[in-house]
């Protein structure tokens, strides 16, 4: 078990080092990247199997005592999210190999290792049992994302990258200051000990810490009004990079928020979270409607969907938290697939602008199907995974008698469907536009195109699997939510088990 926990973090980082050494040999580099990602992914699925059958584990890094050292905790919430996150990265890397000439742009040598470092950061952020390691994991993720976003050095990327870097650096600085407050108030940064000690603080100190970290994680999660960096920077990056960012980065922020705020019992912040959630949903959906480019529409929907997860958390009921967990699991693959399809569209037509494309339903019916399934899922139509996830969140809202936020969530769902229809009519229906007559900017070989379409099919199949096993996943989410809302089980896991 501890070896499996270690493998999810160490394998990607090790592969990144090897990939950097062998960066001039593209096939070896790709192989190493896939092996590193594959090892981490396989370990995470093994962890899920073990933990779901009742054997949660914690690992002490370096053999320090539990209060001082770094603890990696494989509880149910962590191992539900981890396999989904790692599978997404694996599929995107497959897509990227197919699209190599265009995907990673001017400097593909660095992209594989950077992606691996990001993967290591994601595993660490999900598994970590203390707040400072969470900070380090965030920095690992963010530093590699800064470089992935800007390393091609085009003017638009640098312009958008500056906003992105400044916003996220500011959130990181706030995170550090918050760590000082937490350590000053409680004398520990270990999450399990915090779960015991934070409720003992005075109300002012406790809620101050809760609100502070709400802002910190909220900036990473791109909630209203801290989202301005997202829709500007994501569309400028190459497809594969945007797909990873959209599927993972904001979700890690929400993951940390669910973890921290349920463990430390910040129930009084619930009403604030619900208001922010409602505004985030509506602003994101309206922002998407105003856009005229596939990637920009999808970027605004990243924001809108964050609102639903925030709503599930803000209810602070077992059902609400379970809904948020299920929504998180559903949302990560769906969003990634939509961006991959966006990549297929722009690869086929040389543009992702709605005005300059059209008629794709006849020229590339496969892409149309691949778009339709996740798009309907995103809008929350049955029988797709989005329906189950939205149903869980909304019925939790009704159960808690928060009717206003439920109404807002339903309106935002309708707006989502509207903007998906906008993409559909713009890209897939109508006559082929001028741009699609001409050859794409950089033609890809048939084998590469097959690999790209295959990777997208695999991701769509993944989202369908989630809707098939929705019942089991919902049961697991409920169990995870019960664990989360009951800190004693997490404490027992982190502090109570023998080394």
């Amino acid at each position: 078990m501890t070896a499996l926990i270690a493998a999810t973090v160490v394998a990607p980082l090790l592969a990144a080092a090897i990939g950097l050494l062998l960066r001039h040999r593209s096939r070896v580099r790709d192989g190493v990247t896939l092996v590193g990602l594959g090892t981490a992914m396989a370990s995470s699925f093994a962890l899920l199997y073990n933990v779901a059958s009742g054997q949660s584990h914690a690992m002490l890094v370096g053999g320090w005592s539990r209060e001082l050292g770094i603890v990696l905790v494989a509880d149910l919430f962590a191992v539900l999210v981890l396999p989904v996150a790692l599978s997404i990265i694996f599929i995107v890397e497959l897509f990227a190999i197919g699209q190599r000439r265009t995907a990673w742009g001017a400097n593909p040598e660095l992209a594989g290792p950077l992606l691996l470092v990001l993967t290591g950061g994601v595993s660490l952020a999900i598994l970590t049992g203390d707040l400072f390691t969470l900070f380090v994991a965030f920095e690992l993720i963010l530093v590699s994302s800064y470089v992935l976003l800007t390393h091609q050095g085009q003017q638009g990327q640098i312009r958008a990258g500056m906003t992105y870097v400044v916003m996220n650096l500011f959130a990181s600085a706030l995170f550090l200051l918050g760590l000082a407050f937490v350590y000053g108030a409680t004398g520990t940064v270990n999450l399990a000990l915090l779960a015991e000690r934070i409720p003992e603080l005075s109300d002012g100190a406790r809620l101050g810490i809760g609100a502070w970290f709400f802002v910190v994680f909220g900036t990473k999660a791109a909630m209203f009004p801290l989202f301005s960096w997202l829709p500007d920077s994501y569309p400028t990056a190459p497809t594969t990079i945007t797909a990873v960012f959209a599927g993972l980065l904001t979700k890690i922020g929400i993951y940390a928020m669910i973890r921290f705020h349920t463990l430390t019992g910040m129930d009084e912040l619930g009403p604030v979270m619900l208001i922010v959630a409602g505004v985030t949903m509506i602003v994101g959906a309206l922002g998407a409607l105003a856009q005229n480019d596939v990637k920009r529409i999808l970027s605004f929907h990243v924001i809108s969907q964050i609102g639903y997860m925030l709503m599930g958390l803000g209810l602070f009921s077992a059902a609400g938290t379970a809904g948020a967990v299920l929504f998180l699991i559903h949302h990560m693959p769906v969003k990634t697939v939509l961006f991959l399809v966006g990549g297929l569209i722009s690869n086929h037509q040389g543009t992702s602008s709605l005005d300059r494309s059209g008629g794709l339903v006849r020229s590339r019916p496969v892409i149309a199907v691949l778009f339709a399934i996740p798009a309907l899922s995103l809008a929350g139509l049955p029988p797709f995974s989005g329906f189950v996830a939205k149903l869980a969140v909304i019925s939790a809202g009704i159960a808690s008698e928060e009717h206003i936020i439920v109404a807002v969530a339903l309106i935002a769902g309708a707006l989502t469907l509207l903007s998906m229809t906008k993409i559909w009519t713009g890209v897939f229906w109508g006559e082929p536009a001028e741009a699609s007559m001409s050859a794409p900017a950089r033609p890809t070989s048939a084998a590469n195109r097959r690999l790209m379409t295959g990777a997208t099919c695999l991701a769509v199949a993944g989202t369908l699997t989630i809707s098939v096993f929705a019942g089991e996943l919902f049961d697991l989410s409920e169990r995870a939510a019960t664990d989360l809302r009951n800190p004693s089980s997490y404490t027992a896991l982190t502090i109570g088990t023998p080394p």
Binding site: V136, M162, L169, Y183
Partner: protein, 121 residues
């Protein structure tokens, strides 16, 4: 001692935030350095009173300073150093493109600005 600490953290934070609100990336960079220093000082200050260097077998455990915040601060400093270099590289690249290192408006702001300019007679 504690008051001096608090004053240092407070003034570093305020000057840092003031600099971050600037348009030029080199000022923002300085702002982040100051804010980083403030955070590191705050972490050190949160570790309790000062004491002997917490080296193994050299100081009595009760007289030594709390080593954990020092470890945290050291990690934060290393990360901050790397990020400073990255921001410098970003500023240099922006200077190559536009001749200065100003953070520009995002696309949506530019679009709204263009619309307002059209509406005016």
């Amino acid at each position: 001692m504690t008051v001096a600490f608090l004053l240092a953290v407070g003034s570093l934070t305020s000057v840092g935030i003031y600099l971050i609100t600037a348009r030029s990336l080199s000022r923002i960079l300085l702002g982040f350095s100051l804010l980083g220093h403030a955070a590191v000082l705050a972490i050190l200050g949160s570790g309790g009173p000062a004491g002997e260097p917490p080296l193994a077998n050299s100081a009595a455990p009760l007289e030594a300073a709390n080593p954990l915040p020092q470890a945290l601060a050291l990690t934060a400093i290393v990360i901050g150093f790397g990020l400073t270099l990255f921001l410098l590289a970003l500023a240099r690249r922006q200077q190559l493109f536009t001749g200065d290192d100003l953070v520009e408006d995002d696309l949506e702001d530019q679009r709204i600005g263009a619309r307002e300019a059209l509406a005016k007679p």
